[in-house]
């Protein structure tokens, strides 16, 4: 058993309860004419049942040692949060800055923030990759990213 197992088990029970409640509100119907909430009631009930089993199992099991910590290595949680900040920032800024700038900033940040590489390498890799991705995905595969600040869509006219 790990630290957090019990809490997650209770969350499943609560989620299952919500799904069952919503299923009844949507309309359970009957066996001969199942309503839109029919499967939700059954799936939610199963979720509660299995989660309850998990909780009971966790309580019954003898614990020879205290539960293992969630993060085994020091600084692991910090590294995870720093990494996550990259794509979160990308998603937040995509509309305003556009694909190229967002990709460039995210890559530079990720190359520097977690296991830092030299600035020159980070900038070179991030810049060239962002440009290649922009040309391949936006120009060749025609994925419509928001134009953003630089509005690099105008470059399309210059490309063959």
């Amino acid at each position: 058993m790990k630290r957090g197992d019990g809490l997650v088990g209770f969350l499943w029970v609560a989620l299952g309860g919500y799904v069952v409640f919503s299923g009844f509100r949507l309309g359970f119907g009957s066996f001969a004419s199942p309503g839109p909430g029919f499967i939700a009631v059954w799936a939610g009930s199963l979720l509660i049942l299995f989660a309850a089993g998990l909780l009971v199992q966790g309580r019954r099991r003898r614990q020879p040692a205290p539960p293992a910590p969630f993060w085994a290595e020091p600084g692991a949680g910090r590294r995870v949060l720093l990494t996550l900040a990259g794509p979160v920032g990308f998603t937040l800024l995509l509309k305003f800055l556009g694909f190229f700038l967002c990709a460039l900033l995210m890559l530079v940040y990720l190359f520097r923030a977690i296991h830092p590489h030299r600035w020159r390498l980070a900038l070179l890799l991030a810049g060239s990759s962002a440009l290649v991705c922009f040309v391949v995905f936006q120009y060749f595969l025609q994925i419509q990213f928001p134009p953003g600040l630089l509005d690099l869509h105008r470059l399309k006219g210059w490309l063959p």
Partner: protein, 500 residues
């Protein structure tokens, strides 16, 4: 005769220059994905799915299939050289493959893995061509109760095979069904669990979920620790196995082919199960079982052949019954649906070019893999040396591009990040993600089959047990779940007798 004519038609499609190109792209990307730990075939297929919108469906399926079996090949390279499986189906190859590398026989291990995969893949193509038509005819006799029970069986097998505790796998399967029913109810037209987001009316997209659970969460798990890989000091001369190697490997290769193929057909089975089953079988049949774990070539040849053969077998239920047996196949189903095609018993008649073209391309793809993996093994070793700290920002960027590119929706990217964190937490708590993904994809099919059955049979739930095929599927499911309780019952009995 019919099989030969069908295959000839398939080869006609597969050898078209564009299809050859897509097949090559697929096997190349697959090998790359297999070599690089951190993103599996599922993530790669999800990533490349948006690129298939602009190409014909047969080319799309040929490329995606290439990624799948290419990853099985590539996975063996990291298993042998670094003792890190590139993807889950190559876990078992680490045991003897890496031992062989330490003994200076990495070349022979990689060589036999490539030849075994090629032989397995080739025989599988013919088995597929032989078995698919009669299975499709049988599937035509299936009604909604049979489909429902088959999906229950698939989920039970996946739950049964889960690495972690079965109770956690069951929770994941139930949660997957709940996620699968988000969106508009097809019968009543009512929105369910959409919370006012009109983007969710069509349901939660499978791509953000898969990319989050397998791509983002994998990155988060990896950045937690310091990734230090040491590549075994390998001699990569002698890639061609010796006569003695062949003698020891031919049996495992042929057994692995048939075992892998038939386990691949099973719902919930697939490459992972096949490789483990093949290893166990070879160890049991060996005259020198003590050599397993110390560099036995049969321990590489059997599992590597089996996992490749299983990828071919897994296409049978998808293309004949329309039911994906694992998460990768579920994405293939998604790709076909995006192109307006519904896999099932009729696809062979309605889309012969797609069906037979894909099968034939697998044969050509296996040949390409042999050429890619043996002469260019040095290149793959160089790629292995790329540090993960340089790799993971690109994985995240490709995940973001892949998800955004499907619907141009920022909600999808938020969903992916949410599922990434969710998957990261759950994987740290030993939950397995595969039952959730499969249940989520099967959810709507499962619900339709259940509701249709109940409506047709006037609300009689016994219909699932009284119809022979459906009853057999459900009995199999029950047996699987009960067999999981046996060790617990034995422990309980021992505990009670000890107390006495």
């Amino acid at each position: 005769m019919e099989v030969i004519a069908n295959l000839a038609q398939g080869f006609g499609v597969a050898v078209q220059p564009t299809n050859l190109l897509f097949c090559f792209v697929g096997v190349f990307v697959g090998t790359l994905i297999g070599v690089l730990p951190g993103i599996g075939p599922l993530g790669a297929i999800a990533l490349l799915l948006p690129t298939t919108f602009y190409i014909p469906p047969e080319s799309a399926l040929i490329m995606l299939a290439g990624i799948y079996y290419g990853a099985m090949y590539g996975g063996s390279t990291t298993s042998v050289l670094v003792n890190i499986p590139g993807e889950a189906a190559s876990v078992v190859t680490c045991i003897d493959g890496h031992q062989m590398a330490k003994q200076g026989r990495a070349g022979a291990a990689l060589g036999i893995a490539a030849f075994g995969s090629f032989i397995g893949g080739t025989i599988t193509v013919f088995l597929l061509a032989l078995l698919a038509p009669p299975l499709a005819r049988m599937a035509l006799t299936f009604g909604p109760p049979e489909y429902f029970s088959l999906m229950v069986l698939g989920l039970c097998i996946l739950v049964y095979l889960a690495n972690g505790p079965i109770s956690k796998a069951l929770v994941m399967a139930a949660l997957g069904i709940v996620l699968g029913i988000v969106g508009t109810d097809t019968i009543s037209g009512r929105s369910r669990f959409t919370f006012g987001f009109f983007e969710l009316d069509d349901g939660i997209g499978i791509i953000p979920v898969v990319m989050g659970l397998f791509g983002v969460s994998e990155v988060l798990l990896n950045v937690e620790k310091k990734m230090e890989r040491s590549i075994a000091a390998v001699k990569l001369k002698g890639l061609l196995p010796t006569r003695q190697d062949w003698k020891e490997s031919l049996g495992p290769i042929f057994r692995g082919t048939f075992l892998g193929f038939f386990l691949g057909i099973l719902p919930g089975g697939g490459a992972i199960l096949s490789s483990f089953a093949s290893y166990a079988m070879e160890k049991k049949l060996s005259r020198k079982p003590e050599s397993f774990g110390r560099g036995a070539i049969a321990g590489v040849a059997g599992p590597e052949t089996a996992n490749n053969a299983a990828t071919g077998g897994a296409f049978i239920p998808l293309l004949t019954i329309g039911i994906p047996t694992n998460a990768v196949m579920a994405l293939m189903l998604g790709a076909l649906v995006i192109h307006g095609l519904q896999p099932g018993p009729l696809i062979m008649k309605e889309q012969p070019a797609l069906f037979w073209g894909t099968i034939a391309s697998m044969y050509l793809g296996n040949g390409m893999l042999l050429l890619l993996n043996l002469p260019f093994i040095g290149l793959w070793v160089q790629i292995l040396k790329v540090r993960y700290t340089l790799l993971f920002p690109f994985i995240l960027l490709f995940c973001l591009i892949g998800v955004f590119g499907v619907n141009y929706s920022l909600l999808d990217t938020w969903l992916m990040l949410g599922f990434g964190v969710f998957g990261y937490i759950l994987r740290k708590l030993d939950y397995e993600m595969a039952p959730l993904v499969l249940a989520m994809i099967l959810g709507p099919l499962f619900e339709n089959a259940l509701r249709q059955s109940l409506i047709i049979f006037n609300g009689n739930p016994l219909v699932f047990f009284t119809r022979p095929i459906s009853g057999a599927f459900l009995a199999g499911s029950l047996l699987l779940l009960l067999s999981n309780l046996l060790p617990w019952m034995r422990r309980r009995k021992k505990y009670l007798t000890d107390d006495d």
